[in-house]
Symmetry: D2
Subunit: 396 residues, 4 copies
């Protein structure tokens, strides 16, 4: 892809990425595909990817389409051709890398959650504010905002179509450790993962609830729960129902599930649930909004659809409309295929690149900012405090 | 219908009803229809209905199929041919009527909620226990238990098909006062209605969650909210969006919505929501259960369907099954129509009669008992307390 | 119920019924329940039911709420108090009973299909026309017209909301003989049943397609098929997959499935399918209409819902609306329960009674007439001819 | 991408493409993305794209990721580094280009329909057979076969899970010319497009029905219809409902809709419908199969889902399973994202590249062959003949 930059005449945007597993693959796909379908004001050059082990990072670079690779992420910061650092590592390393990159004058796209703690996130926000003075931008990757149906939902709320928001119902349901014999993983250790379902997937629905409504949570009360406190070590046990536990086990130190409620700045009530124990729900990000004039409903397992109820209609023909969000009039969609040809998971990452590159070219702050990421972090921390204090209300 | 009793040879069960509006109509339909489709061990005679005004109660008796009517509900208790009193009045009168009937040796079917307060409900339970010594039975009408899909859900849980329950997600969503100009009603006054969405519809989902799982809530934390605190008096304002407020307004003294979370006796997490402000949701009683071996999902707006996920199946062909609960093998269904011919709302009331008459004939306690109703009442009271105390956890 | 007639003051309508199995039970329920929920201008008295065997017909009368019973259906015609004869017998007896009743001056409600052949149906139409001179009315029971969602669909088409009809897609899918070992039945013998899936269930979707669009089929081409030509005699074989064939078998002489296409009088294309071999579809009456301005979709397995697409809307928010047909504004619904409390299969029969009694009181022809039934019969006959003649087009 | 070939060590596959609009974009995306996610035995080099106008084809090459461009498609055949020609032009040019490419010893991937007539398609098949002797391969792009849910459906049928196929219900519903004022297009002219809905989208469902069942149609009867025979010329009229017709109009010479029925080689009945007049259906490719042991249902508007009914299950818990086809166990899916993260339209094209490259490396014929494409063409021609001959049955 890099070659085509010059041909297209748009100024280049040199990109370096740190980390190359699940999120790294999704981001690489986005950097590569975005310029094929969208007219970008800057042309991304996929310069280099950094990782810890030379062999794997080289292979990843080849497979994912990066020009080169390195085992020293700090070396990226010294390269003049690198304009932006894309941080796709686990959460406990975000602060160090992002702050260093900002201090080196590189724009930063950082995967969510911003950090594993509010303190770390605050440091990142401070660094971002300092860097902003010099026109260096920072954004955090709450990618689900870029799913067209979600973007449409936000538009409809902003246009006043649902009126005053009374209820938000936000759930993120998965089932990947519903099996009690599923093995231990770093994601189940508090030191590495920061938190469990709350931080990993709950963060997404907190962001979506606030983003779509355009409101903030003003307080929360919540309850965390770890259903399975000990698990077989990887290799030691099975991964399917009926798998047999091996000799060794590890202790789960994060939450398996979180339920919490909150008030929105506009006076509405919001409920949240994040769990990895909902058998049969694979990636069910569900968002329902009820307002004074209408309602919206979304489920990521049918991601090209938004349901919309318009209460101003004649009751005789009113009903939730299944809007198949694949029309040229819908956000992002016109750049892709003819109407009716749905998009998939990774398109959200492409749209993130489109929005980010557009903001950089326009010298505007890309949304969401590190401050937005910190605010989500504070919500999650308040939920943890509430759970520890018998669900006591935590004002934000 | 009464004549046919003798012909069928089954002993008669003399029934008297108090109240004749929405619930009275549903109960009348049930008493009348049940013997046409089910072989009942006792044959209900619809003897008399009591109400406050002579004209309307007479008309109701004719329309609903009762042999006679009266304006003095106490007179029912003196009649030897009355075996059972069916209490369909508003909640603030339940205790007085039910206790008097039990003391007079009449079986009692009392609509939910059992009472408007825990104290009243406790008095009723005491009366029921005293009456039980003499073989007099009392039951409270949580009718949704008798929807075939719900009854099937309970069977599947009891058979162990979902394993240990980890999550319950229970919601009762309506929209009948989502319009801010919808007029005042006695249901919005605390003195008459006891509580708002919490007691009126939240009670149902608390009962269903416990009934289907076979577990009890051991503690709760909750949040109540009144979105619209003043409403036009009836006649003074409109009832549709855009309706204009009249001169007079009344103050809403109950909750418009309630959200709460709790722990189940088996260790699972349960979340609840009851609201009348969910535009487009008319009678959406939704129940989802995730267990260690599978999941269930139900929505009353598609009441003949139960969704079931069996996690022990090969992942390649596993998926939520849409069980269309209209087969002869399904609870209650065989007595009705051939497979595929769905039932409606009122059939739950017919099944309630079937179960109740069966229990009376077998000299067993019909479920749910007054004690069950009191337990639900205690849960609701704990939610109110929690809301008043900053969501503080309330052990049950 | 009969007693209440006098009390309500409305003139009585004396009803006699012939036949008392599946359809007899549904009709009885309807005659009994209609006056409880609707203000009828005539009050039905359920006088007598006729059947072939004294014991069973007596038991049925008691169970279904009829005042008396008889084994001689002709005796009904001699009773002065009988105003209407409700014919619920198998199709091969319809002509004889209905013609005799009309000649005796009794109104007739005849179950569908009107007859087993066009010739018989023609005789019935002639008799109905003769009787009409004296104010005697005849109607055929295409009950699915009275499902509220179907009635709403017809209204929306009539109001021009879908514009010119281009496509009708009508299917009636069941699975009750999909199992090859399901035993023989009279329904699978041409002499008794007239035809198979085509006449039994295909008749319904032909009527619905024409009724909802307000158009007639002007020609058809079709294809019939018998998948399983021999079946175990009842008692001889099993009824479930894996059932073992007994000693005796019978020959299936009707179609198992029918597919056909036609043109509508307004220029649209219609496709039809009727089968009892669609595993998992229990009573899936599906109707889809695409017009120049919008579309409609219905499936009886979700019978309280109509889907409506309004093509005049902004593409950004257009989508099929799931109209939950339980509002007071919807046809028939206001008489029942509050919004959101769905109806079931038998309510269509109640609505049939309501419409029929209304027409009789207004001295108008109840719809559909025998002539309408004959027209459906002619369509079915044309499909059979087409199938026999290599799908050749049959003009109607 | 081309560079990475060498690095990865897999032999290169030099690809040239002719045409670069909708299909060209989809194919380019596929050639580019496939190697990022799948381990391909040959590494595609996107060498050159050919088109008629120099400027646009150059721009397309840059945007879509091709190394070069040309206005002379015949020049591709002279290049030694071109191993495969990907034909993405309109149907009337397929034969000329594909035959020339095969004769030049290039593998050919040709978009569907194979050609605009059976005669042309036959010529292509002959050329393919001749080329096959030298190990040169030809395949036609029925891409929907590669949607994971469709691929899974085929597997389940092949495994015997639905038993003997009795019914296929195949529909392809769109609405892009449902508006009578939508302007003329080359797709509505018989000379250029060959046929209308029948060939453009009907071809897909014929292929899918045969592919998934593993059977062939043995005869058909059908009916074509042109609803709107004259349309405003482009620019002259509007494209939305209510658009005003301009001065000039053009005559539509293809079918707007086609309905047809057929018999499958295994004895089942199949019905087909292809239309661009189904308001609200954007790309609704629907496939339902009912067999002696189970059923399947698919709708492309929910493309990551396959519904499966297993009739061997206990009726009490049987139901259509919503299989969310995003598990590693599902065809193609494991190479992409974690479970639950759905794919989109273009992934089918990626899978087509994967299968094609795999077959080439294995020196096997890629499916579907040109002969398969010809057979579909013959079915479509038979439908046209049947429609012209009063729906008369056409044996195949």
């Amino acid at each position: 892809m890099a070659d085509s930059t010059a041909k297209q005449g748009a100024p280049a945007l040199g990109v370096a990425m740190v980390g190359y597993s699940f999120m790294g693959a999704a981001h690489s796909q986005a950097w590569s595909v975005a310029p094929r379908f969208f007219d970008l004001p800057l042309h991304p050059r996929m310069l280099v990817v950094a990782g810890r082990q030379a062999g794997p990072v080289e292979a990843a670079a080849r497979r994912l389409g990066w020009e080169g690779s390195t085992t020293d992420w700090r070396s990226l910061l010294e390269r003049d051709d690198v304009d932006l650092v894309d941080v796709c590592t686990p959460g406990d390393t975000h602060a160090e890398i992002a702050v260093a990159a900002l201090e080196a004058g590189k724009h930063v796209l950082c995967e969510k959650p911003l950090a594993n703690s509010v303190a770390e996130a605050q440091v990142m926000v401070d660094a971002a504010e300092k860097a902003a003075v010099a026109g260096v931008r920072a954004t955090v990757g709450f990618t689900y905002r870029r799913v067209p149906a979600i973007a449409l939902a936000r538009q409809l709320v902003a246009e006043g179509r649902v009126g005053t928001v009374r209820h938000v119902r936000a759930q993120y349901l998965q089932d990947w450790i519903a099996d009690e014999q599923a093995p231990m993983s770093w994601r189940l250790e508090k030191e590495k993962a920061g938190s469990g379902a709350l931080g990993d997937i709950g963060a997404h629905v907190v962001d979506l609830a606030q983003h779509v409504t355009g409101e903030l949570l003003t307080g929360v009360s919540g309850l965390l729960r770890t259903f399975v406190e000990e698990r077989p070590l990887p290799g030691a046990g099975g991964g399917a129902l009926g798998g047999t536990a091996g000799e060794g086990t590890g202790v789960v130190t994060v939450d398996d599930a979180a339920v919490f409620s909150g008030r929105l700045s506009g006076g509405g009530l919001a409920t949240f649930e994040a769990t990895r124990f909902a058998w049969g729900r694979k990636n069910a990000i569900r968002l329902e909004i009820n307002g004074s004039k209408g309602s919206l409903a979304f489920d990521f397992e049918d991601m090209n659809v938004l349901h919309y109820y318009d209460a101003t209609e004649d009751a005789r023909v009113a009903g939730f409309r299944r809007i198949y969000v694949t029309e040229p009039e819908h956000p992002y969609v016109g750049a892709w295929w003819p109407a009716g040809h749905g998009l998939g998971y990774e398109h959200g990452f492409v749209h993130q690149v489109v929005d980010l590159v557009g903001a950089l070219a326009a010298q505007e702050d890309p949304a969401p900012t590190f401050a937005d990421g910190l605010q989500v972090q504070k919500v999650l921390a308040a939920v943890e405090r509430s759970s520890a204090e018998g669900c006591a209300w935590q004002q934000l």
